[in-house]
Structure formats: C-alpha cells, structure tokens
C-alpha cells in the first residue's frame, strides 16, 4: 500500500513544522503508554501484594487454589465440559429457530396470525419472566413425571428443551428490536420493487436487522454458555456437576475454581468476538466521507 501510494503521489516530504508536530505526537504517545504501563503495574502489583500478604491468604489458598487438587480433578472436569459444549451448540440452533419464528410472527401483519401473535407475546413474557433454574427444574423433573410417550427422556434433551424455552424469549426480543430498528424507507424501497412483505422481510430487512443486533445476540449466547451449568441440578453430569462431586469427595473447593476457570475460558472467545463486532459497528457509524 505504501509503495503504491508512493508511485502515484507527487514527491512530497513533510515540512519541518510538520516533522516537529509528528515528533511531538510520537512523544505524547510514548508518554501516554508509559503512564498507562506504570499505573497498571503499580495498581495491580499493589492489589496482588495486598491479597497475598493478607493474614488469611494461606487458608484461602488451601481451600480454593490447591495446585495438587487442581491437577487431579482438571482432566475429569475438562472432559465433562464436552457435555456443556454439546448442549450449548444444540440449544443455540434451537433457540435461533424458535426466536426467529416468534419474532417474525410478532411483526407480520397477517390477520390469520392473530392467535399465534397472542401466543408469541405470552411466550416471550413467560419465558423472560421465569427464572431459568425454575424452568430447568420444571422441565427436567416435571416432563418425565407426565409419563407421556414421545417426550424426550434423556436428561440431555430435557436440558436443551429448558434452555431453549428460557433463552428463546430473550433472543426473540433482540431480533424483534433489530427488525424494528430498520428504517421504514427500507420496507418502502423493497415493496416499491414489487417484493411481497415476506420477501422484503427475508431479503432486505432481516439481513440488516441481524447485522445490527449481532452484539446483543452474542451477549445472550455468552450468557447461555455458562447457563448450561444449570442443568447440573437435574442430574446431567456436566462440568459443574463433576466439580461438585469432586469437591464433596475431597472436602476442597478447588474443583469449583477449576470449573469456573473452564467456563470463563469457554466464554472468552465469544466475548472478544462481541467486543470486536461492536467496535466495528461503531467505526462504521463514525466513518466520514471526505
């Protein structure tokens, strides 16, 4: 790029005045990074020292950060994370499908859909208002108690159903907000070409809406990743359940800390991706034309 620019650009070297300005800017940049580095080292160092030097630190370390205990339980807990990841992947797909259907039902102006619309509104209200843990208990223990044929009996699938029900409400609302945020002129230009309401929604409005709500959508999925741990209460042996078993066997809380570290590590990539997409959206909004 630099080479290409040099080729088309007439010879121009910065004036001495500009060189001085650039030098000052570089010096300022150096000053700023020095200050941020120094303040970070001092503050974090002080905090670390305070924690380690505090009188209870030895007990805290033995209870929560026992290295040998961590080494023993880590492989088991990491293997158990496969269940969480599987559940997250399956539930995510189900949630997107359900949420999209609910969001679309709520915006489509088709009179025949009125009963569905009422159901969709009731669903989002109930799903968002009910604690996820309660839904997991209700589905995990309640559904099998019905002894109906055709209902899933595996704890894994019951967990997926519960998470889908709970998260579908949130994600549907995020999608609906995205659809509502697309300017009416986009509907008008789609319809003016002769596209039907449905075609305009699918090919013009939804793609813009989804792009716009990507950060909040991913935020919900970050939250879903850790909430897969809630299914531990109905007996699914996931990372949390495994940690719980280890912990009660060894009378040590280190397994919980290991599981917590695992959940954080699991959500980090998605969290960073969310940050990046949000930043890109901001940059795009602020982009100015010459």
């Amino acid at each position: 790029m630099t080479a290409a620019r040099a080729a088309v650009e007439p010879p121009w070297t910065p004036s001495p005045q500009q060189a001085r300005r650039e030098a000052w800017r570089r010096a300022r940049a150096r000053r700023r990074s020095a200050v941020s580095l120094a303040s970070t080292v001092v503050v974090l160092g002080l905090l670390g020292w305070l924690v380690v030097a505090s009188p209870g630190w030895q007990r805290v370390r033995d209870t929560f950060f026992d290295p040998s205990e961590a080494r023993t339980v880590a492989p088991e807990i990491i293997r158990a994370f496969v269940t969480n990841i599987e559940m997250f992947c399956v539930a995510e797909v189900c949630i997107l499908a359900l949420a999209l259907a609910v969001a679309v039902v709520r915006v489509l102006p088709v009179p025949g859909l009125a009963p569905l619309k009422v159901l969709a509104i009731a669903y989002t209200d109930i799903a968002r208002g009910t604690p996820t843990l309660l839904v997991v208990l209700l589905v995990g223990f309640g559904l099998p108690a019905l002894r109906l044929s055709g209902l899933p009996t595996s704890l894994f699938w019951l967990g997926v159903v519960a998470l889908t029900f709970s998260y579908g409400g949130y994600v549907a609302e995020v999608l609906r907000a995205g659809i509502a945020s697309v300017h009416p002129s986009q509907w008008a230009s789609g319809r003016s070409l002769g596209l039907s309401y449905r075609q305009t929604l699918r090919d013009v409005v939804l793609p813009q809406a989804v792009r716009r709500v990507m950060p909040p959508l991913l935020n919900d999925f970050v939250s879903l990743q850790k909430d897969t741990a809630l299914v531990a209460v109905i007996g699914v042996v996931d990372a949390l359940r495994t940690a719980q078993i280890d912990s009660s066997r060894d009378f040590d809380y280190t397994p919980y800390v290991v599981a917590a570290a695992g959940f954080v590590a699991l959500t980090l990539p998605l969290a960073r991706l969310t940050d990046y997409l949000a930043l890109r959206a901001v940059r795009r909004e602020q982009g100015v034309s010459g």
Partner: protein
C-alpha cells in the same frame, strides 16, 4: 485584519490526496465562497478548519494562533468556529430549543433561563419562534437547516463554516436559507462557505476561491472569477455548472 489564514494545508485519506497544499486568507467580516467540483476538497477543507480532521501538513492560523498545532485545545477552538453541515445534523432526540441551548448551557456557562431567552431571540430572528418545542423530524428541510444555523450562532462564533448547506434542500426551500445567510453577512459575520449556488455566491461573497484537485487554483472577486476566469480549468468548471 486577517482572521483565518491557511498555508500549505495538506490532507490525505489512504492513498487519496484530498488537499495538496491549500493557501487561503479570510479577513474578519469577509464572506469567502469555495467553489469546485464534487471531490475537489471543499468539505474536507472546512472540516480541517473546524479541526474535525487533522491536517497532514501546513498550518491553519485563526486570530493569529496556529490551531493546527497538536497542542491546542480543539474544543476551545471549535467554540469560536461554528459549522453547519449539508445534512443539518440536528440532534434528533431533542426539541429545537434544546438543540440550540445544549452547547451554550454546557460551554458558555449560561443558565437554562438565559440560554433559552437567547435561543428564542435567535429563533425569532430566523422565523422559527413557533418551532421551539418541535422535534427536528417534524420540520421541513429548510426549517431544519435554519435551526442548525441558529444552533451554531448560539455559541456566538467568530467564524462560521457552511458546508453546502442548501445542497440537500428542495429548490423552493433554498431561498429561505440563503436569506438567512444574507442577514448574517449584514451582521458582519465572517463566513467561509462551500457552495454550488453560483448566483448566490456572486451576490453574497466578497471573494471566491476555486478549488481544483486539492488546491486553490484561482481566487478573486466573484464578478471577476465567474465572468473572466484566468484558468481554463475554472472556465470549463463554470461552463459545466451553467449547462447543468
């Protein structure tokens, strides 16, 4: 007295050299029109003067101070240099009165009462008295642009930059905005305006500068520049504008 003096101002975006050494002087109470084809750098030049863009070289002196120096407080400079944009850029979440009073209340230290009295006076002057409580999206383009002018004026700027402020307007609404500018000139406001309205530029500007390829190719009194341009490029630009 020279209020604004640009010398050798350069600006590029990526490989696109937008300004390649612009020299321009504007005296106090003078109205200078910038003309030139789309992409000739008029908007970029105005944005550089308002410090919305950082220049790559050259200097911009405002009232004798080099405001292109990285050490200056850009916010303080902008308080004295108002700008009105082609697309109005009003704050859509605020009614007209709050659009106008926001900056004076935060920056000029006026209390709500003073700021609103001042704003009402300006709105009245530009025929907008009855719009104070209205939100921008309820106004016509011409009204919005006059509100944008009032918003800039409420900071009592010493220099006002106008970036093709009639380009987004319906033809029948252009007149009301141009009348407002004519009034500002009568008040003695110093104006630098990018414009496509040649007849207006002729009647209101004291001097015109023709921007071509990121440089001021030619400048002079409107009558001379529009009727007897020295440069063939200026002449061909004017022929194209008049044909269109």
């Amino acid at each position: 007295m020279t209020l604004l003096a640009l010398s050798g101002v350069r600006k590029h975006f990526g490989s696109n050299q937008v300004l390649r050494g612009v020299d321009l002087a504007v005296a106090a109470h003078q109205v200078v029109g910038l003309i030139g084809a789309s992409g000739s750098g008029k908007s970029t030049l105005l944005r550089c003067i308002n410090l919305l863009e950082t220049v790559d070289d050259g200097s911009i002196e405002f009232d004798g101070h080099d405001i292109s120096d990285p050490r200056v407080d850009a916010d303080a400079v902008r308080r004295d240099i108002g700008m009105v944009f082609q697309a109005y850029n009003l704050f859509p979440h605020l009614p007209v009165l709050a659009n106008v009073t926001l900056a004076p209340r935060r920056l000029r230290g006026l209390d709500r009462h003073e700021a609103e009295a001042d704003a009402q006076q300006l709105l009245h002057r530009f025929g907008l008295s009855d719009k104070a409580a209205t939100h921008p999206d309820q106004l016509s383009g011409g009204q919005q642009q006059r509100v944008a002018l009032v918003r800039a004026l409420a900071m009592r700027p010493r220099l006002l930059l106008l970036d093709e402020i009639t380009s987004a307007l319906d033809p029948e609404l252009v007149g009301e905005v141009l009348d407002a500018i004519t009034e500002l000139k009568a008040d003695g406001m110093t104006l630098v305006m990018a414009t496509h309205e040649m007849s207006f530029a002729r009647s209101v500007a004291d001097r015109l500068a023709f921007l071509h390829d990121g440089q001021v190719l030619e400048e002079g009194p409107p009558a001379q520049l529009l009727d007897n341009p020295h440069h063939e490029r200026t002449a061909s630009f004017l022929r194209r504008v008049r044909a269109g």
